[in-house]
C-alpha cells in the first residue's frame, strides 16, 4: 500500500485492525476473522466499505458493532489495532 497524500484538513491514515464476523456476515464474508488495512474512520464507514466489497445484504442500521468486548456506536471512531466485531441480529430458535 502506498502512502496517501494529506488532504486539506484530514490526514487520511490507514490503520491495521482485526475484524470478526458473526452469523450471516461470517457466511457472506466466507471467513470468521481477518486482519485488514483500512482508511475508514468510523465503524459505520468500515462496515459500508466491507459491505460493498463482500456484498453484505444487511444495511448498516441492522448491524451492531463491538470493539474489545464492548458494544460501541457505529458513528464513533476506532484506532490502530482495534478488534472489531460485527454482529448481525439472529432470529432462530
Amino acid at each position: 500500500m502506498g502512502t496517501y497524500p494529506a488532504t486539506s484538513a484530514v490526514q487520511m491514515e490507514r490503520m491495521i485492525i482485526t475484524v470478526s464476523y458473526f452469523a450471516i456476515l461470517r457466511e457472506q464474508r466466507g471467513l470468521s476473522r481477518e486482519t485488514l488495512e483500512t482508511s475508514a474512520c468510523t465503524y459505520g464507514e468500515l462496515y459500508l466499505e466491507l459491505k460493498s466489497a463482500h456484498g453484505f445484504t444487511l444495511t448498516e442500521n441492522l448491524v451492531k458493532v463491538a470493539n474489545r468486548g464492548e458494544f460501541v456506536e457505529m458513528s464513533s471512531c476506532f484506532g490502530e489495532g482495534a478488534e472489531v466485531v460485527f454482529i448481525p441480529p439472529v432470529a432462530g430458535g
Partner: protein, 477 residues
C-alpha cells in the same frame, strides 16, 4: 396479614370494636436447644412462599374460629437471644376462641411455613434446622438430593426453586432443551406456550418429542412429558401462539420468562412486555452453528434488546432455522444455558448475563462476552409504551425483502394499470383466509397515503403475521 420481616418485630395494631378478646403470642430466641447452649439464631426463608403459606393459615384460623382479625409476622436474618422471632395477634368476639386460634396459628406456622433456622452454638459450631415438620416429603427430598447437597442450594434453595414460576415461550429447539432441566431441577410452576404441532422436520433437534407425536400440539405434549419426569411440580400448557393480544395475561402469571421463539416480532414483543412488567427474560437466538444468549433484567444496568437494536429487525433479513438450517445440538446447548440462567436467577448465585451478550460458535468453541449497557434514550427502558417494531418502509426495501405486496385500497381507487405487481384485496374483503395464507409470508400493505395500511399492518402483527406498510402510500411513488 402475614409478613416476613428483616427488622425487629413491632406488634401490629389490632383495633376492632367488636372484639371481646385479643390474644397475642411472641416466640423468642432462647439460649438452649436440645441440651446445647445457643448463642444466636439465623432464620432464612423464601419470602413469597412463606408469606403465601402463612396467609393461608391466617385465613383458616379466621374461618374456623370466627375471628374478626388475624395478623402475624416472622423474622428472618440473625437474631440474638431474647429477640422476638414470631409475633401473632388475633381478635375475636370471645376470649375462648381467641386463645384457641392463637395456638392454632403458631402450631400451623411451625408445621407448614417453610422457614429454616441456623443455630450458632456457644462452642462455635452451627447447624441448619428445618423449623417446619417435614414440609417436603421424603420421596421428593430424595429426588433433589444430589443438588440440595450443593452448599449454594440446600433446602432453602430448593424451596426457592419450588416457589419459582417460569414461562417458556416456544417449545421448539430451545424450549425442548430448557424444559426438562427446569422440571428436573424442581422449578415448581412451569408454563409452556406454543401453538404449533410437532412436525417431522422438528425431530432432529426437538428431542422431547418422538416420531409418533407428529401433529400433536407442542405445549400439550411437552407438558405431559414434564409431568412424567417430575410429579412434584405444576405444569401448565398455553397451547397457542403468543401475540400482542394474549402476551400480557400469559406472562403476568410468571416471574421469569424464557424466549425460545424464532422470529424478531415475538422476541421484541416479549422484550417490551418483560421490561414493562419487570420480569427477567432469558433470551437465546441461533444461526446455523452459533448462537447468542442474554438476560434482560430491568433491575440491572444492562438494558434490553432494544438498547442493542432500537428497531426490531424485520423477519426474513437473516433467515430462520427453516431457511438457513440449524445444527441439531445447537438449540440443545443454548436451551440448557437458558435453563441455567433461570436457575441462577432464582437462587441468586453466579453471574447472570444481564449486562453481557454471550456468543458461542459450536464449530470451534469460540466464545465472546460483549458488555451491554442501558441506552439512556431507549424507549422501552424509559417506559414509552409506544415503542413498536418499525412498520413503515419504502418500496425499495420491500423489493429487497421480496415481500408479497397487497394493495388494500377500494376498487374505485385503483389505477387502470397497476403501478407494480401486486394482489388487489380491498380492506373490507381481507378475510381470515387471506390472513391465514399469509401466516408465514411477510407482506407489504399498500394504500393511498399509508394510513390505512399502517393500521392494518399493526393489526396483522398482533396476529403474528409479519406485515409492513408502504410509507406514504401510493402518493409517495
Amino acid at each position: 396479614m402475614f409478613r416476613m420481616v428483616c427488622e425487629p418485630i413491632e406488634p401490629m395494631p389490632m383495633n376492632h370494636k367488636g372484639a371481646g378478646g385479643f390474644v397475642t403470642f411472641e416466640g423468642k430466641v432462647r439460649d438452649r436447644n436440645d441440651g446445647q447452649a445457643v448463642q444466636r439464631l439465623e432464620y432464612e426463608a423464601f419470602a413469597p412462599m412463606a408469606e403465601a403459606e402463612g396467609e393461608k393459615i391466617l385465613c383458616e384460623a379466621k374461618s374456623i374460629f370466627g375471628l374478626l382479625e388475624a395478623k402475624a409476622s416472622h423474622r428472618v436474618g440473625l437474631l440474638e437471644i431474647g429477640e422476638t422471632a414470631v409475633w401473632i395477634g388475633v381478635a375475636s368476639p370471645h376470649r375462648e376462641s381467641a386463645f384457641k386460634a392463637c395456638a392454632y396459628v403458631i402450631d400451623e406456622i411451625k408445621k407448614r411455613v417453610p422457614i429454616w433456622k441456623k443455630e450458632h452454638y456457644v462452642n462455635g459450631a452451627s447447624e441448619w434446622i428445618g423449623c417446619h415438620d417435614a414440609t417436603v416429603p421424603a420421596l421428593e427430598q430424595e429426588f433433589y438430593r444430589r443438588q440440595t447437597v450443593l452448599s449454594s442450594i440446600g433446602e432453602v434453595g430448593q424451596a426457592r426453586l419450588a416457589g419459582a414460576r417460569v414461562l417458556v415461550v416456544g417449545a421448539g429447539g430451545l424450549g425442548s432443551a430448557a424444559l426438562p432441566y427446569l422440571a428436573a431441577s424442581g422449578v415448581g410452576h412451569i408454563g409452556i406456550c406454543d401453538g404449533d404441532p410437532v412436525e417431522i422436520s422438528n425431530l432432529h433437534r426437538q428431542v422431547i418429542y418422538d416420531f409418533g407425536d407428529q401433529g400433536l400440539n407442542k405445549a400439550e405434549r411437552a407438558a405431559q412429558g414434564l409431568r412424567q419426569l417430575n410429579p412434584f411440580i405444576e405444569v401448565k400448557e398455553h397451547p397457542f401462539r403468543i401475540n400482542i393480544e394474549n402476551a400480557r395475561e400469559t406472562v403476568r402469571e410468571y416471574d421469569i420468562v424464557i424466549d425460545g421463539t424464532d422470529n424478531f416480532a415475538t422476541k421484541f414483543l416479549l422484550n417490551d412486555l418483560c421490561v414493562e412488567l419487570k420480569k427477567p427474560l432469558v433470551q437465546a437466538s441461533l444461526h446455523q452453528y452459533e448462537g447468542q444468549l442474554l438476560v434482560v433484567d430491568s433491575r440491572s444496568d444492562g438494558g434490553c434488546l432494544r438498547c442493542i437494536w432500537p428497531e426490531a429487525p424485520y423477519d426474513g433479513c437473516v433467515g430462520t432455522c427453516a431457511e438457513a438450517g440449524v445444527l441439531g445440538v445447537l438449540p440443545g446447548v443454548f436451551g440448557v444455558l437458558q435453563a441455567n440462567e433461570v436457575i441462577k436467577l432464582v437462587l441468586g448465585i453466579g453471574d447472570v448475563l444481564s449486562e453481557e451478550l454471550l456468543t458461542l460458535d459450536l464449530r470451534n468453541y469460540e466464545a465472546m462476552r460483549i458488555k451491554r449497557t442501558k441506552r439512556s434514550e431507549c424507549l422501552t427502558c424509559r417506559g414509552d409504551t409506544n415503542a413498536a417494531p418499525r412498520i413503515d418502509i419504502p418500496m425499495g426495501e420491500a423489493n429487497e425483502l421480496q415481500l408479497v405486496i397487497i394493495d388494500i385500497r377500494e376498487p374505485e381507487e385503483w389505477e387502470a394499470d397497476a403501478l407494480f405487481p401486486c394482489h388487489r384485496v380491498p380492506l373490507g374483503t381481507l378475510a381470515e383466509l387471506t390472513k391465514k395464507a399469509l401466516a408465514n409470508q411477510p407482506c407489504l400493505l399498500v394504500c393511498q397515503s399509508g394510513m390505512r395500511s399502517a393500521q392494518t399492518a399493526r393489526e396483522f402483527r398482533a396476529q403474528g403475521i409479519t406485515a409492513f406498510s408502504l410509507v406514504g402510500g401510493i402518493n409517495s411513488l
